[in-house]
């Protein structure tokens, strides 16, 4: 029996590496150390991933070995330059300080309310919560106040500062303390902020991931020798060799060799593309089966990938910021509360003529008006909503998206790959018996998408296989082969005529009829005569029609956008039940079309799967990517559907609407209890127990209401 050894994987930072040879040197050095099983060094990131057996050499030994070769090794540290992570950690720190202190303050206020030592301790503990942990809210409120406006921060600052300030005075005056109210409000809001940053779509990370789709290294041929180097080192005009399975490092033209290239990450098109000398290739696409020698034409920021990343980030930054619902409510609420407090003070002063009797109830109004569950209302709903979405195959990138998507009134579908299967299928066979079997035999050895559609179509229809020989393809026109000893021609009408086949009138008529339906038609002929027509088309997905109908029923207009010619596009649109079809739209015009729809006053969702949809997805108010499509589209979108089923769009929009409704309900519960207590406060009847009860009830209501989302769609 093999001895079971425990293996651990460690990350190191390697410094001093400049080239591909350095990588190999470091790898070799590490692999020579006892217990090192596997080692991968990345030049671009300067990181080494090492798999170690349990009894491996200690870190110091590895470091010394690497140092002996002129490099340095350190335990890997997370890059501190990720602003989102840093923000997340900063909130977490504040949460960790605020919660324990607040808990103690609350405990003291409930069990030892009258003891002097407890009152002083509460003051001491509440102070850092108010001014250190709660500092961001105070800063935010001050910034708002300078512009004479108010948001959630204003409400927090107003409520907590009043509660804190009053309590400091009350500490000496021997009145009730509200330190626990101030501290808990800050704590709850910090928790909400932390949850929000954690769940937030990381725009900057998305951009980074987009660029990481590109190759990191290139095999450059200089002076007849081949060097492994960083992509940054490659110059325009360099020759790079790309072996099977490697990513093409940068944009260029094939100089030598031939291969098929998987461009799906760019186009969403799953059929690999044939590349021979003279063809353009694009960086980040994957070379599949042959070796290519590529003369580079564009590098760095000029490459197609970098251009798209730029377009996406432009579209993202041009989006108008969404004012959060909670902030909008707070903006209206704050002046009203201040008004009520002022009226309260005035009324009491008129009634009693005593300044102190007038100010205390007014302060109570300000204290009770700040709902501590307000900060949880949005993040709690968003967290549960996104979690439920993930279970249903809908990945949501952040709360703003959900708040926006309820107003969506147009859904734009990029046709290929979202509404349709994205590949050709045999749809019609017209004419003589045996034509399909002959065509399938003649096309059997071809990799062309249309040929594959014919072969697959024949197999699906149970047509008996024939054998072909003497296969000859004329690029773009058709093929000629000998099937069971008889010459068969398959291709466009012009090709059959050139090959000496006569095309009868009935067949010509059928051909134009089928073409008018937006399908691609070609003819099959033998014995000097065209005898049948075959039609292929990109067919609708099974659930596309249902999806369109459901969206309509939800009051959403459906638009289809495509680069296809008008008749093809309209035929598909009719079949799917879509009447607004934008046809003959070039890839780079899609973003403009989305913008135009937005300028007409619509809130637009865009569904796409190709890299060329990236900018349009980012521009749309809600970008929905099909998870089976291009990585770039996924990165540029707000929402990703894990399956290719278009019904996911309906689920996504319904879930967004439900989540939004939950946020609204949460805000109602958060504000409700506190608003109900305002009259009591104004009447001078508020006490810390009432204030604490309002906090408890509203928090529980908000959380339990959010949890109901777990049962969506019920």
């Amino acid at each position: 029996m093999a001895q079971q050894t425990r293996v651990k994987e460690l990350q190191f930072d390697v410094s001093g590496m400049t080239c591909g040879s350095c990588v190999q040197r470091v790898e070799k050095t590490l692999l020579k150390q006892p217990g090192v099983l596997e080692c991968r060094v990345n030049l671009a990131t300067g990181e080494a991933t090492v798999r170690l057996a349990e009894e491996a050499a200690p870190f110091e030994a590895l470091r010394d070995a690497v140092r002996a070769r002129g490099y340095d090794l350190a335990i890997h540290r997370d890059r501190p330059d990720d602003p989102d992570r840093r923000e997340e950690r900063a909130w977490l720190r504040r949460v960790w300080v605020a919660w324990p202190l607040s808990a103690v303050v609350m405990l003291l206020s409930t069990v030892a309310m009258d003891a002097d030592w407890a009152r002083v301790t509460a003051f001491v503990l509440a102070t850092p919560v108010q001014f250190w942990a709660g500092w961001p809210f105070l800063v935010g409120a001050a910034r708002r106040a300078r512009r004479l406006s108010a948001d959630m921060d204003t409400l927090i600052a107003l409520g907590t500062l009043t509660a804190y300030g009053y309590s400091v005075w009350a500490l000496f005056a021997g009145e009730d303390l509200y330190f626990d109210t101030a501290a808990l409000i800050v704590s709850f809001l910090l928790l909400g902020k932390y949850l929000e940053t954690r769940a937030r779509g990381r725009a900057s990370e998305a951009m980074k991931r987009l660029l990481e789709l590109g190759a990191k290294e290139a095999h450059v041929v200089r002076g007849g020798r081949e060097f492994l180097m960083l992509v940054d080192q490659v110059k325009v005009g360099d020759l790079v060799r790309v072996r099977p399975g490697e990513k093409i490092p940068t944009d260029g033209v094939v100089e030598e060799g031939g291969s098929t290239v998987d461009e799906s990450m760019l186009t969403g098109e799953s059929v690999p593309v044939e590349k021979v000398a003279g063809d353009q290739v694009t960086g980040a696409t994957v070379n599949l089966d042959g070796t290519l020698l590529v003369r580079t034409t564009r590098i760095g920021a000029d490459t197609a990938l970098a251009q798209i990343v730029k377009l996406v980030s432009e579209a993202q930054s041009n989006k108008a910021p969404i004012q959060r619902l909670a902030d909008r409510i707070a903006g209206v609420f704050v002046p009203i509360v201040i008004g009520i407090a002022a009226v309260t003070a005035l009324a009491w002063f008129v009634a009693t003529g005593d300044a102190r009797d007038a100010i205390v109830p007014a302060i109570a109004v300000l204290i009770i008006a700040c709902p501590c569950a307000m900060g949880l209302a949005t993040p709690a709903a968003v967290m549960v909503g996104t979690g439920r979405g993930a279970q249903l195959g809908v990945l949501i990138r952040g709360g703003e998206v959900l708040e926006q998507s309820r107003r969506i009134d147009i859904v734009v579908f990029d046709k290929t790959g979202t509404l349709t299967e994205g590949r050709m299928q045999l749809v019609d066979v017209v004419g003589e018996e045996g034509a399909l079997a002959r065509a399938a035999a003649a096309e059997a050895s071809s990799e062309h998408p249309i040929a594959r559609a014919v072969v697959d179509g024949a197999a699906e229809r149970g047509v008996a296989a024939l054998t072909a020989s003497g296969f000859r393809a004329v690029s773009g026109l058709g093929v000629r082969a000998s099937v069971e000893g008889e010459g068969v021609v398959v291709g466009r009408r012009s090709f059959l005529e050139r090959e000496g086949c006569e095309v009868p009138d009935w067949l010509a008529q059928d051909t134009s009829r089928i073409e008018a339906e937006g399908k691609t038609v070609f003819l099959v002929g033998w014995g000097d005569k065209a005898r049948a027509a075959l039609a292929v088309a990109d067919t609708l997905k099974q659930n596309s029609g249902e999806t369109v109908r459901t969206l309509r029923a939800m009051g959403v207009e459906v638009v289809m956008i495509t680069g296809d010619n008008r008749s093809t596009a309209e035929a598909i649109g009719r079949e799917a039940g879509i009447d607004r079809v934008l046809a003959e739209v070039l890839p780079e015009q899609k973003v403009g079309e989305v913008r135009r729809l937005q300028e007409e006053g619509n809130v637009v969702a865009m569904v796409g799967d190709g890299i060329n949809d990236g900018p349009a997805l980012a521009q749309a108010d809600l970008g929905i990517a099909i998870g089976t499509g291009a990585d770039v589209a996924i990165e540029a979108s707000d929402l990703t559907l894990m399956s290719g089923d278009p019904r996911g769009v309906v689920t996504a929009i319904q879930l967004s609407r439900r989540t939004y409704r939950t946020i609204v309900q949460n805000l109602f519960w958060a504000f409700g209890y506190n608003v109900a207590l305002i009259p009591l406060a104004a009447a001078g009847l508020l006490n810390p127990i009432l204030a604490g009860a309002a906090m408890a009830f509203s928090s529980v209501s908000v959380v339990s209401n959010s949890l109901r989302l777990r049962r969506f769609p019920n």
Binding site: C19, G20, C22, G223, E226, F227
Partner: protein, 47 residues
């Protein structure tokens, strides 16, 4: 600009990590690692 014969990087002689004279030609290197590899077996990098 000179080319590091070991790894193919372009190296500015003024900034090179090292240089080595071999059969009358001075070669420049991007890193001391490349220089050492070259010194061990120059011929294998000059074919």
């Amino acid at each position: 600009m000179q080319i590091d014969p070991v790894c193919g990087m372009e190296v500015d002689p003024g900034n090179a990590a090292g240089s080595y004279e071999y059969k009358g030609t001075t070669y420049y290197f991007c890193s001391t690692g490349c220089l050492e590899d070259f010194r061990e077996d120059p011929e294998s990098y000059l074919r």
